[in-house]
Symmetry: C2
Subunit: 188 residues, 2 copies
């Protein structure tokens, strides 16, 4: 950030008088430009819950992590809820209709200023189709998941937790919220 988005004058990095950390401040109009973490929200679309238990993954057609597999997810937009964001991203990236269930995982990724959230979801039909940001979309059982080709640690951890909890759920356990902090950079 070099210029004030309000008046166009150069900004400086300084600690405002009523604050305790450095911000981008406009010395012309006085606007303080706060920068805050963003939410990435998606779903875990499950098919055939009582049999094989397959999850819908998308192979990314965009950077970062082009060609790697991910759960359908993306940046939450203004004027929508986390649940609406999860449904929208699932439709946009995987062309998939879901019945959204509870929030399942919340993963903090502080070094990239993001919080990732995934909802459990029931995939309603098999008429899914890769959106413009996906190369292909496919169902995977736990044994079939390409674990070495998952795009993001938040996704691989969510999937591992989920398949564990799905097995426990078949034995009568209820799903809870899984939380985790991921502080390492992705190694290609």
């Amino acid at each position: 950030m070099n210029f004030c988005s309000s008046c166009g004058h150069p900004v400086q990095v300084r600690i405002p008088s009523d604050d305790n950390r450095e911000r981008h401040v406009c010395t012309h109009c006085g606007t303080v430009h706060y920068q805050n973490p963003k939410m990435v929200v998606g779903s875990i679309p499950l098919w055939d819950e009582h049999e094989a238990g397959k999850v819908l993954l998308c192979r990314r057609a965009i950077e970062p992590r082009h060609g790697y597999w991910t759960l359908p997810a993306g940046f939450m937009e203004n004027n929508e809820t986390t649940a609406e964001a999860a449904e929208r991203e699932t439709l946009e990236e995987a062309g998939a209709r879901i019945e959204l269930q509870e929030l399942y995982s919340m993963m903090n990724v502080p070094h990239v200023h993001q919080v990732h959230m995934f909802y459990r979801a029931r995939l309603l039909d098999l008429d899914f189709l890769a959106g413009t940001e996906s190369l292909e979309v496919k169902l995977f059982s736990e044994a079939e998941v390409p674990w070495d080709e998952i795009a993001f640690p938040t996704v691989s951890h969510t999937l591992k937790f989920f398949f564990d909890d799905l097995a426990a759920h078949r034995n009568g356990q209820s799903f809870g919220l899984r939380s985790m902090d991921i502080r390492r950079k992705i190694q290609d």
Copy 2:
């Protein structure tokens, strides 16, 4: 937003070619300036869990809602986790040391582009003290809560859910995650 924070030229509102909604776009350097919801994170500091069960509230010394009561909470910062944000805000606004527990409520407030999250927490001692953004800080049992003077709907709903669940918890129920969407404006 009137000017590009990167190059200082005027921005225009238009739909980028690879997008489906209007963004602030710089026609000079091409930067797309995305705007996304912010997270407000705090805690529900509980004292004397097994007796009266009192919760620590702060009376706001700042706008909006100056003079109204709230749970300690504030905007999550870059480079921290949601749990770190909850602990930091509780210390800054209430001077209170807590043992943070699970995420308890997640409230979407889409018309102000915010998601509010509150963690359950155990208040560790009674040496709390109003921070610069609080007029006073005080413990309240459920019967003592000033329900008509709560600053935000996300806080009053969280408190109502919490005291209900605290009563159920004493009868052996476990706490779950409470979620809710709040779409109405605050009436003074």
